[in-house]
Subunit: 366 residues, 2 copies
């Protein structure tokens, strides 16, 4: 079935991941680090697509600082498949730009948009959901998004509500586990998140999308006509020596906006497919600790470490010896020029450190 | 009065101070570090003697690894006043060796023995006590020790018990605040320490001693005849080119023993002088934190540090940036090759790390 459809994957890899400081830096953000496993997150993201699409059908959208590292980490990818944004303008321009690349190859081509920095435990189920999504997107001209079955009332994610009365008549929809979207909800407070999870009508918004290239470009034209105009100014230069210049020019004027807020929420007839494949967006050092293998004391130790009376801690050192005595519930990250010591549960606040570095223009640490 | 007496100070500076790892190393032990103040502890120890004795009357006993650092830190000291033991054999041989140096200059000379690594807040009162001690040692041919008025039931120190019925008839003793010693007690458990402190009969053993050179050599002869014999084998080579060789030979056979256990406890008629001059032996990082200046959050921060929601912590970094988030009651020491992270209250266990390094022969960190 899929053989008749041209499928392209667009991996969004422009994030700076300041929550993983001091390991994540402007030149080595989260997706380029081996934070959850032996390979980097973007390498895992590409490897996961094995058997789904070939390297020629994978695009990565990144930025200037990270381009060479991306190319080095993904040697099988054709160089022209690495798309470099001159500046980050959130997801809508990024996706619109990539859609033009896909559209040029095949206007009917189905485009799967994936973040570069998520963990997925059940890869087989993930690919099954992708197959369903491709089929739905190809046949229905709809925007399809992947919703994650919530396991707890998380306040760090957006939520997707499905149309309630359709739960009972799934047969009318394009497939099992496919629902029509009622609304997108921003990150809720705890009380609201609890209500969402208890209702059974809400999924986590995973930031994964599936649609035909022509369909998303049309939706951008309808909902974000200004952005569409700038994209069209770039379009004739695709594959020419003028491309970079026209891109710089357009991005200088494009307004940053997310695809969720700019397009998805303004569009009727969006589908969400339920994903239940051990998804984790690895949003903080706390999450990394939760995913990591641990010894009997609940410690994850990487590098030269001597621990005495040390429990439930995540310790990572690149060079110096780290010795710990009588500690509990700590995250310790030692890199070539900086050391982070963070209480477990407080790792969301690591961004406060990065904000401080920016305010004080301590650029060597960014 | 003191003008008629030749006074010599012997500073014992051979300790390795493993409790201050990773700052203290074999080549840079506690006494050679600026752990409590801007100067090193041995520099403070010498400076404190200003007006009491001149540099020519100060001897330092150290070891081969530390010799050059000692000489560099104490440039006013004559080179021949730095006595180098080939190997550490505890305090009795160290003091016996130094006593021979003093004895050669003046057999009646009074010798004040001081550790190199203590903090004394009230230096004026300290020198007053020294003056009393010198007078008592000179006139009574007694062994004199300094006992610290206890402020709490410390289990980390030895104690000195005074002869009880003499508390009321001090007039018969050589001076106010001078007592006859009844017994020396090893480090007690907490219950015993509480009893000691409540009784009012006990002082902390400070490890400071005052006696005439001829008197201590005679006491060593009586209580440790074997050690005395080895010292006498060295004696004729003092100031000759054969000295080092005879020292090596003797120290190869000398048994390690403390002056407290080997001499003081076996001698009748030892005096103790009460010292109440803000003494602290700075035995651990916890003690360093207690002595340090602190900001409003109870933190002592030295070096490039960004702290967010951080309280009651001691942080010292030599090179890398240290960033802390959500932590409490931690000791963080970053040196050129090692990082210690220790819960406050657990710093006695830092020696477990050093023991581990020794067992595993990780000598580069010792």
């Amino acid at each position: 079935m899929n053989k008749a459809i041209n499928v392209y994957v667009v991996i969004m890899a422009g994030g700076i991941g300041s929550r993983f400081w001091p390991r994540s830096r402007e030149r080595s953000p989260k997706q380029l680090l081996e934070i959850a496993g032996e390979k980097t997150m973007i390498q895992n993201t590409v490897q996961r697509l094995n058997g789904f699409v070939g390297p020629k059908n994978i695009f990565v959208v990144t930025n200037k600082l990270q381009k060479s590292a991306v190319a080095k980490q993904l040697p099988t990818l054709p160089a022209e498949n690495i798309i470099v944004e001159p500046i980050g303008r959130n997801t809508a321009p990024c996706i619109g730009l990539a859609a033009m690349f896909v559209h040029r190859l095949d206007p009917d081509g189905v485009m799967v948009v994936l973040p570069a920095d998520h963990v997925i435990r059940d890869e087989k189920e993930f690919l099954r959901v992708m197959d369903v999504g491709v089929k739905v997107a190809h046949e229905s001209s709809a925007l399809v998004t992947i919703g994650i079955q919530p396991t707890h009332p998380e306040t760090g994610y957006g939520y997707i509500q499905i149309v309630e009365d359709e739960k009972s008549k799934n047969g009318a929809l394009p497939g099992a586990g496919v629902f029509r979207v009622k609304t997108f909800a921003e990150k809720p407070n705890l009380q609201t998140a609890q209500r969402f999870v208890e209702s059974g009508d809400f999924f986590w918004n995973s930031g994964m999308f599936i649609w035909r290239a022509d369909v998303i470009l049309n939706e951008i034209k309808r909902s974000l006509p200004e952005l569409h105009g700038y994209l069209m100014s770039i379009e004739p230069t695709l594959g020419t020596s003028l491309f970079e210049q026209s891109l710089e020019h357009a991005y200088g004027m494009i307004r940053g906006i997310s695809i969720d807020y700019g397009v998805m929420e303004k569009t009727e007839g969006v589908y969400v497919i339920r994903g239940d494949f051990g998804w984790n967006d690895v949003g903080s050092w706390d999450e990394v600790y939760r995913l990591a293998t641990k010894d009997e004391q609940g410690n994850h130790l990487h590098g030269r470490i001597i621990s005495f009376d040390t429990k439930n801690s995540y310790i990572h050192t690149n060079d110096k010896l780290v010795a710990t005595v009588g500690i509990d519930d700590l995250i310790v990250i030692n890199t070539h020029d900086a050391i982070l010591i963070c209480k477990r549960g407080a790792s969301q606040d690591v961004k406060e450190i990065v904000d401080h570095l920016r305010r004080k223009q301590m650029n060597e640490y960014l």
